[in-house]
């Protein structure tokens, strides 16, 4: 197992797939929503992080008990040595 293989093999291949999903999401056929039609979207329950206070600490503990992280709120540091 050499380093470049790990770097450019499997990982990048699957990343292409993800990049495609990402771009697809970007360019999806969305209907136009005028500013005055965005009342529902502005409701508190529609906020992407509706419980921001608890999520910070909850995610910190989560990240120190699981290997995967990323794409989520995380604390700036900590050994997580426990």
């Amino acid at each position: 197992m050499t380093l470049p293989e790990r770097y450019f093999g499997q990982t990048v291949l699957s990343w292409r797939i993800h990049a495609m999903i990402f771009l697809a999401a970007l360019t999806c056929g969305c209907t136009s929503v005028e500013p005055w039609q965005r009342g529902t979207l502005a409701k508190e329950q529609m906020a992407p992080n509706p419980h921001p206070l608890q999520n910070v600490l909850r995610t910190h503990v989560q990240n120190s008990r699981e290997a995967a992280s990323g794409g989520d709120v995380a604390a700036g540091g900590g050994c997580g040595c426990y």
Partner: protein
């Protein structure tokens, strides 16, 4: 902060800021922060706000192979405080302080059940019988070092048991053995974690982020640091977001960097069991670069224990997009990538290796000829080794759909994660946010997480070599070294061609043959470096066959048994409740139950049941919207002007000094106030007795009452963080609830001429350990008060306070066991509360003229129980205080205060193991009479960003302390208080 996307959506909608709060700012923040890199986006609102959060995480007991572990499972107590503020219209800042305390027992390694790694301390004296201890026996023969004793001790009786023996069948499967190492059954492949307790670990993190709003874009820059005893991290990030497509689309990107440093004093309970420190300390042959692929870590000899240092750099990038799909749905995607290079191992985790020495197997000279098994293995723990490089990538998708029927919102999230350690993970989560009324909202939620194991994860390793192997040259035979000097590089061998002499005598000094000095086999001994025969008998007598530690290249390049790198799944179900308290205050409560199990892994094949555990998280958060408070404050000020007789005395009264509690009632029914108070007390300098400094001699002989004192405290800090929530159901009664978080640090030193300075028993270990700072922290006692107005005049008022303090704090904080010794409780002063229900009455009178305010208060603390769960009670307390404040201008005022307090000594004593070595371990050295003079400064802000808030600071200087017994001198107390009328 990370990236704000459609932050100003609210503006587009023409909504009031308060309605649009918790807006889409958090959307990408939440989605795009990278672990260990990004700032904590606490985005309670777009406007100015203050938040407090408290969380408790607790794991259930694990199955440790039928042994009843006395260890507490892992617990985490966290608090978070956060301020969002505007610097001007476009520039905003967020400051966050996070503190968490980890405690409990954690797995240090994994071993077959037959290794009996968690057996109880009392029943292990014969543990090593039959184990091939002689492979490394020469370590113990070396009596030169003072370290020989700890090893011998460790092997006979420390906890946890990482050093053991295994009997294997022909397929290298472990056989069931009893605690004496005898095979008593068939193949038993069950595994178990070896648990070790750890001292509480406190981590503090500070974050600051500044963001600037530009036209159609936003830029952020932030940084901070995180600190704990053995790990520090410094981090920074920049990010931006841009709106497109009439703000239907927002793109964002961020870059972050973190530098992490580990300086871990290897665990004193682990050092004697883990091979590398052994080798380094006793053999001095170890390569001190611990990770071989990259010079990121070093294992160095410390004064008492080996220290493992390592550094790591993390770089993170992310890009994201948020798309409004239609009037009731939006989609968010984020791609993140993290590159980490450097030391990534966990300094406290070890991997068990079963060494099968070919020379010591059945049929070999060193083997057991009647064995009822195939292989005899020595089980030794070595420090884990992870690659220095780790690249991680993740893709996040979040879809949010409004459900018109019930006005709820459905949040669906998915994350794919992959790294170069071959870990792949999938996470799905769903939340149903259901508003129940204008102020209540209920959110049931589910989360499923699954990960594959890292390619170097292994429960334990097996290798076909001895831990130590004798060195033999094909031509010269056995190679010898001089035990008097093993590091001079000289090797010897016996001259196989020389004359064989018959052994004449077992006494080495007379073992001579002719003129030549000969070795044990009667042959001449040759110095390999010079080629000359050795003519000095003393050298020959000092020779022994050279041994080398095992060959690392026969092990995999990387190995770790850290459970977090194994294959498993977690299922989390929880519920969150949100209540808008009105006046801009929001309360959040949540509870989640977590199941962590190998068989929950997607597709099966996860780690065995031994690694399963349950856990729960409880979370309580309070957010105060300062914009809302400000708006109300403006309204109320206007009302005041229009109606001068409408009484709002409190909003214009000069605030009491910061250290005075329970000083005022809220003026009007329905009023609410929230305050945050920090109180820090410092003690250092002399230990006084009857007002005179005590010499070390006096402390040794008198301060520990019939026992010698061995060490003394040199420095102690006590910190208390208190939240004070006040509510007035009527105008003559104010109810208060005051939860607290407390933390204590104490440094000690050995007394000059102390009768002991260490040793292997509990007292000796405690003395040795006193070199390390003692730290405790956690939830304090929770107080409830009712203030009842007795008299209200134009310029004075009198009120009675009736309070109850609930024993929510721990009074059983213990030191972790050391070398198998139960170390018992920490000092009385390091316990976090009283442990008893306490009655706290008070009487307060305050008065005010135009520029001057004054007050007087007496208060009492009466313990309502005879003893707490740990067997003692704190003494009752009485306090009186008198103060006066003067307005300096419309905003500021200064105060002068006198405080007299009287505290009784502790009654009773610890009812369980306690190892007294210091003045703080004796109840006789508690209580006394204290007099302080306080100088304070206070500010009441009536306009601007912080309108409606009061700030005060007070320094209390001890002027005439008369403590009982021998106590460390008080240096002073700093009190900071911040309050806001809602």
């Amino acid at each position: 902060m990370v990236v704000a996307v459609t932050e100003h959506l609210g503006e587009y909608l023409g909504l009031e800021p308060s309605t649009g709060k918790t807006s889409l700012t958090c959307l990408t923040m939440a989605a795009m922060a990278l672990p260990g890199l990004m700032m904590q986006p606490v985005c309670a609102g777009e406007g100015d706000s203050v938040s407090f959060v408290r969380e408790h995480y607790s794991e259930g007991k694990r199955d440790i192979g039928g042994f009843n572990s006395k260890f507490q499972p892992i617990r985490v107590d966290s608090i978070l405080g956060n301020i969002n503020f505007s610097l001007d219209g476009e520039l905003k800042g967020v400051v966050t302080l996070t503190q968490d305390t980890w405690s409990g027992a954690t797995p240090v390694a994994t071993a077959p059940v037959s290794a009996h790694g968690n057996r109880e301390t009392a029943s292990h004296t014969h543990v090593m019988t039959g184990a091939s201890m002689d492979t490394s026996g020469h370590i113990h023969d070396d009596e030169e070092g003072d370290m020989a004793a700890p090893i011998a001790h460790a092997i006979s009786g420390a906890s946890p048991y990482l050093y053991s023996a295994l009997k294997l069948d022909a397929q290298y499967r472990p056989l069931m053995t009893n605690s004496e190492g005898k095979v008593v059954g068939g193949v038993d492949t069950h595994l178990v974690h070896t648990l070790s307790s750890a001292s509480p670990e406190v981590r503090q993190q500070w974050d600051l982020t500044i963001s600037r709003q530009l036209k159609g874009a936003k830029v952020n820059a932030g940084g901070g640091f995180s600190n704990e005893r053995d790990f520090s991290s410094l981090f920074g990030n920049v990010s931006g977001s841009w709106d497109f497509n009439r703000k239907l689309t927002t793109l964002s990107a961020g870059l972050s960097y973190a530098h992490n440093k580990t300086v871990a004093l290897l665990d004193h309970d682990l050092v004697p069991h883990v091979y590398e420190p052994y080798m380094l300390t006793y053999e001095r042959r170890g390569d001190d670069t611990y990770n071989r692929s990259h010079a990121s870590s070093q294992l160095a000899l410390g004064k008492r224990a080996p220290t493992l240092t390592g550094e790591r750099d993390d770089w993170g990038v992310n890009v994201g997009a948020t798309q409004i799909l239609n009037q009731s749905a939006l989609l968010e995607t984020t791609l993140s990538f993290t590159h980490s290079l450097g030391y990534q191992s966990n300094p406290y985790k070890a991997v068990e290796v079963a060494f099968i020495d070919p020379l010591k197997q059945k049929g070999q000279a060193g083997g057991n000829s009647t064995a009822n098994y195939t292989y005899d293995a020595e089980l030794v723990a070595i420090l884990e080794q992870r690659p220095d490089l780790r690249n991680q990538g993740s893709l996040n998708l979040k879809y949010i759909q409004h459900i018109a029927a019930t006005d709820a919102a459905l949040h669906l999230g998915y994350r794919y994660f992959q790294d170069t350690w071959s870990i792949r993970s999938h996470t799905w989560d769903a939340e149903w946010i259901q508003p129940l009324s204008k102020t209540w909202s209920l959110t049931p939620r589910l989360r499923y997480y699954s990960q594959t194991q890292a390619d170097f994860y292994t429960a334990y390793l097996t290798t076909n070599q001895g831990l130590y192997n004798t060195v033999t040259d094909p031509a010269k035979g056995a190679i010898y070294i001089d035990t008097r000097n093993t590091t001079n590089g000289i090797r010897y061998y016996e001259d196989a061609t020389g004359t064989l002499a018959p052994p004449q005598d077992t006494n080495p000094s007379s073992r001579k043959f002719g003129q030549a000095v000969v070795g044990a086999h009667g042959r001449a001994v040759i110095n390999q470096n010079t080629g000359a025969a050795v003519s000095d008998q003393a050298t020959v007598d000092a020779l022994k066959q050279d041994t080398l530690p095992f060959d690392r290249t026969m092990l995999p390049a990387y190995y770790s048994s850290d459970q977090r790198l194994s294959g498993f799944g977690t299922l989390t179900a929880g519920v969150a409740l949100t209540k808008n308290l009105g006046n801009g205050a929001n309360l959040e409560l949540s509870y989640d139950q977590i199941r962590h199990a190998g068989n929950l892994k997607m597709g099966g094949g996860g780690e065995g049941r031994y690694a399963d555990f349950d856990a729960y998280v409880f979370n309580l958060g309070l957010n105060i919207d300062l914009d809302e408070t400000r708006r109300r404050h403006r309204v109320s000020s206007q009302n005041d002007h229009s109606d001068p007789h409408h009484a709002h005395p409190q909003s214009h009264a000069l605030p009491a000094p910061a250290g005075v509690q329970l000083d005022h009632l809220l003026a009007n029914r329905g009023d609410m106030m929230v305050s945050y108070r920090f109180m820090g007390t410092q003690l250092d300098g002399n230990i006084n007795y009857h007002g005179n400094p005590s010499s070390d001699y006096a402390l040794i002989n008198h301060a520990c009452y019939g026992h010698p004192c061995y060490v003394r405290p040199t420095n102690m800090t006590m910190s208390m963080y208190m939240l004070d929530i006040m509510y007035a159901p009527t105008d003559w009664l104010t109810l208060m609830v005051m939860p607290q978080f407390v933390g204590m640090n104490m440094d000690m030193r050995l007394l000059d001429e102390s009768p002991r300075n260490g040793g292997m028993d509990a007292i000796g270990m405690a003395i040795t350990h006193a070199e390390n700072r003692h730290t405790t922290s956690g939830l304090g006692d929770t107080e409830f008060h009712g203030l009842i107005n007795l008299l209200r005049l134009d310029n004075a008022e009198l009120h009675l306070g009736l309070g109850l303090s609930a024993p929510t704090a721990a009074v059983d904080v213990k030191m972790r066991p050391m070398m198998g010794n139960d170390m018992g409780f920490y000092e009385y002063g390091m316990q976090l509360g009283s442990g008893t229900w306490d009655f706290k009455p008070s009487l307060t009178m305050t008065g005010q003229t135009t520029y001057l305010a004054w007050g007087a208060q007496i208060s009492h603390t009466k313990r309502l129980e005879d003893q707490n769960d740990s067997g003692y009670t704190l003494g009752d307390q009485f306090q009186s205080t008198l103060w006066s404040s003067r307005a300096l201008n419309r905003t500021f005022s200064a105060s002068l205060r006198g405080v007299y307090s009287e505290q009784g000594a502790i009654n009773g004593a610890f009812n369980n193991t306690h190892v007294p070595i210091s003045t703080g371990d004796y109840p006789q050295n508690t209580g006394g009479h204290l007099v302080d003079v306080g100088l304070g400064l206070a500010a009441t802000i009536n306009s601007g960003a912080f309108a409606g808030t009061a700030w005060s600071l007070e320094w209390l200087e001890p002027v005439a302390d008369r403590p009982q017994g021998y106590q460390l001198e008080r240096k002073g107390t700093l009190v900071f208080n911040w309050g806001i009328h809602l």
